[in-house]
């Protein structure tokens, strides 16, 4: 017996003549690959056309995340590809001025990746918080951000318009200067139909992180509205953006209510905490995922003033933020308390933190906790930054 299920779906991404020709191979292999990606994501998101974008942020820079296949892909791709638009890049695996016990093979592979991106002409920012380092274009500007925390932050707090891009789709946008006009690049998707209402008093940035992690799990649409809590500070907004990006497909939040409401009570917060918090204590402290910015560094310096960390404390931040902080004496203050700066890298999937070296670590990052647990297989004691500063200093 043959049963025929028929479903009507309207397809229709239209390419210009130049785009068609590039797809067909007229402009070289790299651009053919790039247009093949743009067509696939255009179809997936229901786009009718491609539009120019002003800024691309690429992920897939840390060797631990892209592996040998990624190294080889980028090596080949970068031989014929050049960025067509301003392109910033995500963190690498480690701080090259502090190689410690990072294996030589890792260092070589990481260096190969950096060389590939350099050949393409990217800005070597090595940051997952480009929104804290670079000038922000005007509201409504179309961009293409991979790195989920940056995409959510850009849409929600800066009014930029990006889909939650993948490492490869952002790369395709980088070399073509184009992205599909669809999803969060259209107003419709930016008005959430479903809201999450916080029904208890938030005590720290960790509660924002847990709410974001919950939102990613339950929201199937591209945006979500949050209500019931105070307006997030910079630290809280970064934690929220990173957590949403970790657990789902949602790429934007608004503050306020929506037609449908889902409650976020202590019960839901505890369920998220139970999933991510897998240890009571840790061998070391890692801060930064997303990388810390000036707000967090300033806040932390005040919390630990006159005290010393009684465990190793790694602070992950971008080189640019480190330099800014150094200029006003902030890095000296934190180093006096025993903290160490690891620039250009981040807690997530860093080779500094392996199960061979550590049973568990302490962090305030929901995103960091997820990837340390699942990718690095290291257990995590999840605590807010204020608690960490008070419990682990003397």
């Amino acid at each position: 017996m043959v049963l025929i299920l028929s479903i009507e779906i309207i397809s229709g991404l239209e390419l210009s003549r130049d785009e068609e020709e590039a797809l067909a191979g007229k402009s070289g292999e790299a651009l053919t690959s790039a247009y093949r990606i743009l067509v696939a994501i255009g179809e997936a998101t229901g786009a009718k056309k491609l539009i120019p974008i002003k800024w691309v942020h690429v992920s897939g820079v840390n060797y631990n995340t892209i592996g040998d296949a990624g190294v080889q892909f980028l090596d080949k791709f970068s031989r014929t590809a050049k960025v067509a638009v301003k392109t910033t890049v995500n963190p690498i695996g480690y701080d090259r001025s502090k190689p410690e016990d990072i294996p030589t093979s890792f260092q070589e592979k990481q260096s190969n990746i950096v060389d590939s991106y350099h050949r393409m002409g990217v800005t070597p920012s090595f940051t997952c918080t480009p929104y804290e380092v670079f000038d922000i274009p005007g509201k409504g500007t179309a961009v293409s951000f991979a790195e989920s925390n940056a995409a959510v932050f850009a849409n929600s707090l800066l009014g930029l318009m990006t889909n939650k891009e993948s490492a490869l789709s952002a790369l395709a946008s980088s070399v073509t200067g184009k992205a599909p006009l669809s999803d969060l690049r259209l107003e419709e998707a930016r008005n959430p139909n479903v809201g999450i209402e916080a029904n208890f008093k938030f005590e720290s940035e960790l509660d924002f992180g847990l709410m974001g992690y919950f939102a990613g799990k339950v929201i199937k649409e591209s945006s979500v509205a949050f209500s019931g809590m105070s307006r997030p500070s910079m630290i809280e907004a970064k934690m929220l953006s990173a957590a949403i990006g970790t657990s789902g497909t949602c790429g934007m939040f608004t503050l306020g209510k929506a037609k449908e409401k889902i409650s976020f009570d202590r019960k839901e917060a505890k369920a998220m905490m139970d999933e991510l918090n897998t240890a009571d204590d840790g061998d070391i402290i890692t801060l930064g995922s997303p990388q810390l910015g000036m707000h967090e560094l300033d806040y932390l310096a005040k919390l630990v003033e006159g005290k010393k960390f009684n465990k190793r404390c790694m602070i992950f931040c971008s080189r640019a933020i480190h330099n800014q902080a150094a200029n006003i004496g902030l890095t000296t203050k934190l180093e006096r308390s025993g903290a160490e700066f690891m620039c250009d890298s981040c807690t997530c999937v860093t080779p500094y933190v392996t199960k061979e070296k550590y049973d568990s670590i302490v962090s305030n990052s929901v995103k960091g906790a997820y990837y340390l647990n699942n990718s690095n297989k290291v257990k995590v004691a999840l605590k807010d930054i204020k608690t960490i500063a008070s419990e682990y200093t003397e």
């Binding site: 017996m1 043959v2 049963l3 025929i4 299920l5 028929s6 479903i7 009507e8 779906i9 397809s11 690959s33 093949r36 990606i37 067509v39 696939a40 994501i41 179809e43 997936a44 998101t45 992920s59 897939g60 840390n62 995340t65 892209i66 592996g67 040998d68 296949a69 990624g70 080889q72 892909f73 991979a146 790195e147 989920s148 995409a151 889909n163 939650k164 891009e165 993948s166 490492a167 490869l168 789709s169 952002a170 395709a172 990613g216 199937k220 990006g245 970790t246 657990s247 789902g248 497909t249 999937v349 997820y370 990837y371 699942n374 990718s375």
Partner: protein, 132 residues
């Protein structure tokens, strides 16, 4: 059973046993980039291999770098032969476009494909053939 009028996301055709899940996948944290096995004990496909199967799943979640994991499993010869999504996402679409894994989107009818059934995806024709 023939399911027609599927939306093509990435062209081509592929055949294999259907590996079906209702749970989304974070390719970076849940899939081994060299063996193609699902490594997350909490996922219902834990320890299952993606090699040669027709993967039927809702959509990818989480990390933007998951697209490279899809490319990696292709390079190691352990990729699915085709992918069917309930709602194809950017990570799956871009990863499969570079890995040349056919993808179709099937928002309403994907439940018709039963776990383990021999399934052929003809993406260019927008068609899935399931041998019942």
């Amino acid at each position: 059973m023939i399911i027609s009028n599927c939306k093509k996301i990435v062209g081509g055709s592929g055949e294999g046993q259907a590996l079906v899940t209702m749970q989304p996948i974070n390719f970076l944290s849940m899939v081994d980039g060299k063996t193609g096995e699902i490594t997350d004990p909490k996922h219902e496909l834990y320890k299952k291999s993606l090699k040669g199967v027709v993967l039927v799943f809702p959509y990818a979640i989480g990390s933007s770098v998951g697209a490279y994991t899809i490319y990696s499993i292709r390079e190691y010869g352990v990729a699915p032969s085709a992918v069917v999504c309930y709602k194809a996402d950017i990570t799956t679409a871009s990863g499969c476009a570079i890995a040349e894994i056919p993808v179709v989107d099937l928002p309403e009818g994907a439940h018709a494909i039963k776990h383990g059934s021999n399934t052929k995806v003809e993406a260019d024709a927008g068609r899935i053939i399931v041998k019942v």
